[in-house]
Symmetry: C2
Subunit: 344 residues, 2 copies
């Protein structure tokens, strides 16, 4: 089978490897129907974080179950499924509390890439999310939206959920990547009245508006803070979705917060240390982390996609075959695509 | 009138000064019935934080309204009131969101101490909390509990509320000072099933149990973390009330947290910087700050005291006259009293 493989920064290839198979009784093997490139993949693609040469890539997919281990009873061969990047067992205290991205039974070790014809998936019983019917029952646009449920839509929703967005809120979304754009959808799903998207790129501004943003701020840093204060009569906002992770973005998030507001972070933090006194003296909450993918898919997101209430698949602005993997990464790296789809 | 006055570290006195009077239309003048010494007063009493010599002291009281400014309509002379350390206006976006400790109309400037025969109080209209009847209608024990509503009980409750304690939760309370002990009460009020109090002093352990603690841990640091993990089958707890503020206490709070748990901080942070990545990768929330005193008093705490459901006044283990102010501070400094009451 073919699988996307990292060679060195700025160089991806497709290699031929043995077909994925069941290794543990809790595994499933999935035939991938759609996969994609994540903004977080760019960290190692650009050489900012380390990834070993020859490692397989990708952590987002939808597909059809080929085989299941002997302990898997909730999904069967032939089922069409969302393949979350999380692998929650579903029965530990952490999964039960709704944080399957931090499952206590998470096993580290080599992960077979999702940008591949087939893949092995751990903790398949609870973590896979069944989609009614078969891939061919859905339009290309619907398949794109279903694919976002493996990570990016759930991650944007996690930002909104941990920022505790509620009906009537005024919300700032930091970041206009696919996650930030899905954060706009998430804030709207949770009832936000006013959604201020920080974006300087016209194509992303347009999509943010289509997804529910009521205001766009193209400025950054202090100027962006001033604009938010103008828009909110000097009060600041009720909730902030931090979908970038840089120091400037986190600082802006803090500075636009009304006292008592909560920041929901999903951008991988680039700075370990933070002055948290400024949070304390303004009663600003800091939450967030790895998304609860399976939890949110089952709770709300799958239904919202199936009913057409949300259309997060619009973040895929370019499509590639697996053999074009280098171009798929390049398009994201050069901002020619908001998110690159891989069609099998 | 007499007022407690800071001379230099470890030296308090009582000075004679002009009687407090209305200065702004939103003021009230209060005749103080009970006041007390706060754990946070020890920071400047011990010379750890700065306080100018000659400054008046205290920020907790109950009393009777003597006079009100022309814009004050909700309280009248003769009303018996809780005198919160916060001065919320009640109508800004922050007060409306329930964070009156961060009122947008907060005015800084010289604050007349509450450890005094009379005091001037700003934003009296909304911030003062009316108590039914008159001081003489209540027992000494009831007056003590009513007095805790000016700060310490509301602050302990703020820790529980911002840690988002809910029915059935397992909770750790860091700190066995009066605030931590009131945090135990707060966690119980919000429905916690299991409350683990960190305390090494027998008198405080006993009071923690009386207030609702189900387990006591006397160890600190790694040993304390190990004990919590033993008690929770390796999972960690759902919520942590951080009522100390030292680096060790905050670290312990993080290390006993189940992924997805929330830390509610009310201990004044002693360290500006924190490694917040450890929060992110475990989805641990960090909330808290200055308490919402008036909000919580009106919402739940006054009624809970009046009905006898909670008896936070038990944190006052020694009583003093105003003239004995030096002894009142010494008793807290030397841990001879959990909290020192001042009777007028």
């Amino acid at each position: 089978m073919k699988v996307a493989t990292f060679i060195q920064p700025y160089e991806m290839t497709v290699t031929e490897t043995e077909k994925s198979q069941i290794e543990e009784s809790t595994d499933a093997v999935i035939r991938v129907v759609r996969a994609c490139v994540c903004g977080s993949d760019l960290w190692w693609y650009r050489g900012i974080s380390q990834k070993e040469s020859g490692t397989f890539a990708g952590h987002e997919a939808i597909g059809v179950v080929e085989a299941v281990g002997s302990d898997v009873t909730q999904v069967r061969p032939g089922d069409f499924v969302v393949v979350p990047f999380t692998h929650g067992c579903g029965h530990c205290a952490t999964c039960k509390a709704g944080f399957d991205g931090n499952c206590q039974h998470y096993q580290s070790g080599p992960i077979i890439g999702y940008q591949a014809e087939y893949m092995r998936y751990r903790n398949a019983d609870w973590a896979l999310v069944k989609i009614p019917g078969q891939p061919e029952d859905y339009s290309d646009d619907q398949l794109k939206s279903l694919l976002t449920l493996s990570d990016v839509m759930a991650t944007g929703f996690h930002a909104a959920k941990t920022a505790e967005v509620k009906s009537g809120d005024t919300v700032v979304v930091m970041g206009d990547g696919a996650v930030g754009l899905c954060g706009v959808i998430g804030a709207k799903l949770l009832g936000a009245d006013r959604i201020i998207a920080m974006s300087k790129y016209p194509d992303r501004q347009a999509l943010a508006k289509e997804f529910g943003a009521t205001d766009i701020i193209a400025e950054r840093g202090d100027e962006a803070v001033n604009r938010v204060m103008e828009l909110t009569g000097g009060t600041g906002v009720d909730a902030i979705l931090e979908c970038v992770g840089t120091e400037q973005s986190v600082d802006t998030a803090i500075n636009v917060a009304r006292p008592g507001a909560i920041i929901g972070r999903v951008g991988i933090p680039q700075n370990e240390n933070m002055n948290t006194n400024q949070l304390f003296f303004k009663n600003i909450g800091l939450r967030g982390g790895i998304a609860s993918v399976t939890t949110f898919d089952k709770e709300i997101l799958l239904e919202a996609v199936l009913s057409g209430q949300i259309n997060p698949g619009k973040v895929f602005t370019k499509a590639f075959a697996l053999d074009e993997i280098q171009a798929a990464y390049e398009a994201m790296d050069k901002r020619e695509a908001i998110k690159s789809l891989i069609v099998f």
